[in-house]
Symmetry: C2
DNA sequence: ATTTATGCAAATCGTTTGCAAACCT
DNA sequence: AGGTTTGCAAACGATTTGCATAAAT
């Protein structure tokens, strides 16, 4: 999904819940679209000078409620945020660096996703658990930290 | 690994860093061993009446540093703790309930682990990332919350 | 005796919220 | 005007820490 489409989609989702697609919300979405990986609050504020932290948090919450953004938990306890898979238009996993905390996106192979689906089916049967999604993270050292 | 072996192993690991395997530490380990799934602080304290919260946290930290316990992040922001895979003697994944936050252990099939290894290899090549471990969580509804 | 562990209360830190002013339609 | 959004400062909640006491070796 290209940038204009992303903004259009996010605008629609906000409108659906009676929210406005404010300038700040647009720049937050722009920041996340540019990054292509989950960002923490500091990184988001650095890319949006003059924005108050509380407004950033509040708008990210709104965007999460609208299904436009998702929260990602990395190795440290700082929350990270990125555009939702719905808005991005593709499913992906994460590479989590234990040293610097950076998280990168990783698009899985169809074969891997098939293995996940099979695992989910098995778990549903064995543990009587209703799987709605999965999370797969590779933990280790990023290129900069090796 | 059976219970006495778990205690012995944890005791060794603590001794290695000049720590003592206190009564409280033993009961904390006992609590986690009994549970067989990651517990949050409340659950741990409920099973150890009279223990102060700070002591629980402090000792869990010590056990984590000793490699005897690992922290697990679920759906909510409450940390959850369980015996480390080293001490348990087996690798596993997690079933995370989005409604009640409960996390259960799930031992993967060899086929799935093979798929993970392949994914790790691929990521290492493509993203120049040094994978040391992986995290696979199935998110959904547990039997009680369906 | 000397080191380590404990409990209490206070501090920390990421995140959330109350409120009054600014904004949009 | 009527609702939404903003920034500031204060509140929140999980976790950590300082300190004085208790326990273990």
């Amino acid at each position: 999904m290209t940038d204009p489409e992303v903004h259009h989609e996010v605008g629609l989702r906000l409108a659906e819940q009676g929210g406005r697609y404010t300038m700040l919300r647009q720049t937050l979405v722009e920041t996340m679209a540019k990054a292509g990986r989950p960002l923490n609050i500091t990184e988001i504020l650095d890319d949006n000078p003059g924005t108050s932290q509380s407004s950033a948090y509040r708008n990210i919450s709104v965007l999460i409620e609208a299904g436009a953004v998702q929260r990602v938990s990395g190795s440290d306890d700082h929350g990270r945020f990125e555009l939702s898979e719905d808005v991005l238009g593709h499913h992906h996993h994460h590479l989590v660096c234990t040293t610097c905390g950076r998280v990168d996106d990783l698009v899985p192979s169809p074969a891997l996703e098939r293995a996940f689906a099979e695992a989910a089916r098995r778990a549903a049967r064995k543990a009587d658990f209703d799987v709605t999604e999965h999370r797969f993270d590779l933990i280790g050292l990023c290129a900069q930290c090796r």
